[in-house]
């Protein structure tokens, strides 16, 4: 469905991504893990068109999208929830979600239909409809962000660290929603620092380091890889998954 071949990209000074190859099959959940600064968010940004790759090929269902603008890529059915700062803080929750349907704004019936669908799937959009997005808690914000990207009924959802800053209960809610969406047929590509959670949720795993993909495979194969287990899962037991102690040493090794 989605395919990246030898993608190189950066922010002006040097390349952050140094030839990334990645495949997402339809209706899978692929989880990218790796130390801070590995380029995980950057991968999502080149897919959604916020950042232009300097070389390499990105295609969706066989069609090249690497040179398209963000709104053209949205129209291809790819939506993104970034790591942070996605919502419009001074707009109501309802309006934030409605903005997710900006590209279908001319089709009022469809907009209405999608809004009803989102309200049903993500109840918080209804219960906090009138509140400003800036007044929500971290977990509620994540739900609204995901709800917003459903307005275009995407084929592929890109989620950047959905667990970031969430308490266990919100976490379960977000994970449940991701699973539900996937079961409804949506392909998911997510980035997770919380490696246990991410790979637990995913069907496939990708390990990135220093702007390159180091390992790919099914989620369980990646989880059971001895090196990965010791690096990111903090060994057999003890330290927090994806915590600073486990990711720390690798960050320096991966320094871009």
């Amino acid at each position: 469905m989605l395919s990246l071949k030898g993608v190189v990209a950066g922010y002006g000074g040097g390349s952050v991504l140094q030839g990334v190859d990645l495949e997402c099959a339809p209706q899978t959940i692929t989880c990218i893990v790796g130390p801070n600064g590995a380029g995980k968010s950057t991968v999502l940004r080149v897919i959604s068109g916020l950042l232009k790759p300097s070389s390499g090929e990105i295609s969706m269902n066989g069609e090249t999208i690497g040179d398209r603008s963000p709104d053209e890529i949205l129209r291809k059915g790819i939506t993104q929830v970034p790591q942070s700062h996605a919502l419009f803080p001074a707009m109501s929750v309802r309006e934030n979600v409605l903005m997710g349907g900006y590209l279908i704004r001319k089709n009022r019936a469809l907009l209405r239909e999608r809004l009803d669908m989102v309200l049903e799937r993500v109840p918080i959009v209804a219960t906090r409809a009138g509140d400003n997005a800036g007044n929500l808690s971290g977990g509620q914000r994540r739900m609204v962000e995901i709800a917003r990207c459903l307005m275009l009924d995407p084929k592929l959802i890109l989620l950047d660290e959905p667990s970031l800053g969430l308490d266990p209960r919100s976490l379960a809610g977000v994970a449940g929603l991701i699973n539900e969406l996937n079961q409804a047929g949506t392909t998911v590509l997510l980035v997770e620092q919380n490696v246990r959670l991410g790979l637990g949720l995913a069907t496939h795993g990708v390990v990135m380091e220093g702007g390159k993909v180091r390992l790919t495979g099914t989620a369980s194969a990646v989880k059971d890889d001895p090196e990965i287990a010791s690096l990111y899962l903090g060994g057999a037991s003890g330290s927090a998954p994806g915590g600073p102690s486990s990711a720390g040493p690798k960050t320096e090794a991966a320094g871009v």
């Binding site: 700062h85 419009f88 900006y102």
Partner: protein, 292 residues
């Protein structure tokens, strides 16, 4: 007491007109981080055009904003596409240089075509007043205020009830978030600049009646408008309304109880005091401290 009521009423009427003039400036800054120094020159350009149309046809100057507003909308749109879009992504100081240059060009053109003389449109009601009890309100002032309020209400409607307005607010609050839902940065910026320029259509028409002007008057106006916008908080519309009200009141109250010469100075003292306490202005958000 009558003096006080009179001064306050007049101050609010003037403040309403200032609010309209400052709204465009703050809107443009909010969306694009462009400080449009040419906003004052746009006002004078419209005032000059209004004066000329009034002089030739005798049509009421404030009514002529029906012509000048769409004209300035188009003018703003083209100016953005041809000129301002080229400095996208540069710092705000770059926009000051560019729009200052733009203001100088407009001033030069007006000097050549209209001449370096004071002008003022004087419709029939120019020297008449409405009397409400003991206070009298100049008709021109009242009409100007009403026109300004009508435009501000329309602006509020566009910003809150239309997709264009939603896109503009989204781009103001979170540019990358707006890009993620498909709001094109260039198109939105061009629209915001066009709408911001269109406010000078009505603003300039009112100006032509209420204030004598000549091509270089734009310096005077832009400093007032910048003062209002800085006081209220750069990019905040409610801030512009309150800032404009404070300027209007500061002017009329100082002129009533002190002297006309001091009236502008008092406003700048207010700005300095406010900025010492709240550097981001009355309604301004601290830069990117929101957590969304």
């Amino acid at each position: 007491m009558t003096h006080l009521v009179q001064a306050i009423a007049l101050g609010l009427l003037i403040g309403g007109v200032y609010a309209l003039m400052a709204s465009g400036l703050t809107l443009i800054f909010g969306v694009m981080r462009i400080i449009n120094i040419a906003q004052g020159a746009f006002l004078i350009l419209v005032a000059m055009l209004t004066w000329w149309l009034w002089h030739e046809t005798g049509i009421d100057p404030i009514l002529l904003s029906v012509v000048t507003t769409p004209l300035m909308f188009g003018f703003g749109w083209v100016a953005y596409r041809l000129l301002l879009s080229r400095i996208r992504g540069s710092s705000a100081s770059m926009s000051v240089l560019l729009t200052f240059g733009f203001a100088l060009v407009i001033e030069g053109v007006l000097n050549i075509t209209a001449g370096n003389k004071f002008k003022s449109a004087t419709p029939s009601y120019f020297e008449e007043s409405f009397r409400v009890g003991a206070i009298s309100l100049p008709k021109a002032q009242v009409f100007g205020f009403l026109a300004a309020m009508a435009v501000l209400a329309a602006l509020y409607f566009v910003l809150t009830r239309t997709w264009t307005g939603r896109a503009i607010r989204a781009a103001t609050q979170n540019p990358s978030g707006a890009a993620l839902v498909g709001v094109g940065a260039t198109g939105t910026a061009a629209l915001a600049f066009a709408i911001g320029s269109a406010t000078t259509g009505v603003g300039g028409s009112i100006l032509s009646v209420l204030y004598p002007f000549f091509p270089a008057s734009h310096y005077d106006w832009i400093s007032r408008l910048l003062g209002i916008v800085v006081l209220g908080g750069m990019g905040s519309l409610p801030g512009a309304l309150v800032g404009a009200g404070i300027l209007g009141l500061a002017e009329t109250l100082t002129a009533t109880y002190g002297s006309l010469n001091w009236s502008t100075l008092v406003f700048y003292i207010v700005i300095m005091v406010v900025l010492l306490i709240r550097p981001q202005g009355l309604f301004g958000a601290k830069l990117r401290e929101d957590t969304v």
